[in-house]
Symmetry: C2
Subunit: 299 residues, 2 copies
């Protein structure tokens, strides 16, 4: 029996799942209907298409990610930190004009402030709550690497704060739109070059300086075009880690994401003497399931 229909609706992709009363995934679907692909007013139609044949009437649907942003279905205002499942549940935005008579809740993103400067995320908070369930813990440091990496601090079951790093996006901008583009070609992941990049980033003290080493090494024939991309990846991920001041920390950060990416971060963290645990992105379903349980008890 379907107890929850869950959506992971991001900028460039949409995933949907039907979960039973124990939170197990019965069926999963995905499409390329990320919010940037959906025309104005087009969200109900995409919703109908991806849920075709599923028991919608009276069903609880929860959607996390950019679908709740200003460019999404409707804007679910950010919930301020510290926030646990209860605070998140309080801020779910319910839509009452959904095809098929479903009850769709848009999960809000979280906001945090440090020294008066805001930071935001949308979707990652659900993955973190899922990871807490999965690991049966109520605290820790959670890292969600990607275009915009999130470093999320959790205590007492609540997200107390977080920081965004534009690592993936800056990698792409450096690689394609600076002088470094000239010295790099497609190449397989090269772990030696990657770790050399990590090491240099830790020493260089700033990516603005460290990044130029890719150019200078190439001028002296000390970095091949094929290894250039891996080296640059090491530079940006190394820079992200440098800023965390984790050296030889006893903390075991939890990396959440695709195995290719979390493996790379774990490798970089090993340079700092830090051990990490890795979790897959399926944490999203677990997070939405746990949020649904909270909604039931607080309803």
């Amino acid at each position: 029996m379907t107890a929850l229909i869950a959506f992971d609706w991001g900028t460039s992709s949409l995933r949907a799942a039907r979960l039973d009363e124990r939170g197990q995934v019965l069926e999963e679907r995905s499409s390329t209907d990320g919010i940037l692909q959906v025309p104005a007013g087009g969200f109900p139609a995409v919703f109908e298409r991806i849920t075709q044949g599923w028991p919608l009437h009276g069903a609880t649907c929860l959607a996390s990610g950019m679908v709740g942003s200003r460019q999404g279905w409707r804007e679910a205002p950010y919930c301020p930190c510290p926030a646990g499942a209860a605070e998140l549940a309080d801020h779910v935005l319910w839509l009452d004009d959904v095809p098929g008579g479903a009850r769709v809740g848009l999960v809000p993103g979280l906001s945090a402030r440090e020294a008066g400067v805001p930071d935001v995320m949308r979707g990652e908070e659900v993955q973190v709550f899922g990871a807490l369930q999965r690991l049966d813990t109520d605290h820790g440091l959670f890292v969600l690497p990607g275009t915009h990496s999130k470093w999320v601090r959790v205590a007492g079951g609540r997200i107390t704060g977080f920081s965004t790093f534009m690592t993936g996006e800056v990698y792409a901008a450096l690689r394609q739109h600076t002088i470094l583009a000239r010295t790099m070609a497609e190449g397989a992941q090269d772990n030696t070059a990657f770790l050399r990049g990590v090491q240099h980033a830790l020493r260089a003290g700033s990516l603005l300086h460290g990044a130029f080493s890719a150019r200078a090494l190439s001028l002296f024939g000390e970095l091949t075009e094929a290894a250039g991309g891996s080296y640059l990846s090491g530079l940006v991920i190394g820079e992200e880690l440098r800023a965390q001041r984790l050296q030889n920390s006893a903390l075991q950060p939890v990396l959440i994401g695709s195995p290719a990416l979390t493996r790379r971060y774990a490798l970089a963290l090993s340079v700092l003497g830090v051990q990490a645990r890795e979790l897959g992105a399926e944490a999203t379903w677990q997070g939405l399931w746990s949020l649904a349980q909270t909604l039931d008890t607080t309803a």
Copy 2:
């Protein structure tokens, strides 16, 4: 009487000057024939055009900048640091096939190594030697802001080391090729937003994190599109300064460049309690003149 014909021949522009026997500029010309605009084998023709009517026969010509790079007229290999005027003079690459019977020397760039990683510059070394002459000193910290900012350390009249920061280029890449592009519009320089960016960069500890604040502030209506560019400029320049660890240093860095740019760096440095001196880019002619004097005495 013409004693030296000097060239500042960079990537996107060419400047030439005729200097008298006291090093005073008699005449200056400029064109858009930067090395990227010159077709293969086209350097002699551009040289002839810009020096038309000048007394070339037997004249000493010195050219600094990217004209001595692999993509330039001919490659003048980098001179390793530490390097003073004498080492630079030793590494000048003389061309003997120049129209009009001139003797053209390509000034080499400098290379430095730190922890096995190279850094390079071409052209800035001449400006630094010019600044030493101009300020009648043999030591100091010299900053040449721009696409690739150079921080140059001088002791005993020699450049002992330097570091490159891709500040200008990363600013452009972030501004045009990341999500930040969406939240920024053309606007006049806004010093309040600029200084706010500097302050945040000093706190944020890494540009990868600091840059995202431009996005988050804009989401909350706390940064206007018109002020976005100035704020981002403060973020990248603040990041460059953060990495120097200059806080309340008694050092007075010498800023060399266009007044618009050196003024902005001086403003950012004031946040750190650091006073700076500013010099214009005309230091190039003084540097090439001083190099010509060294060539005469060592010839």
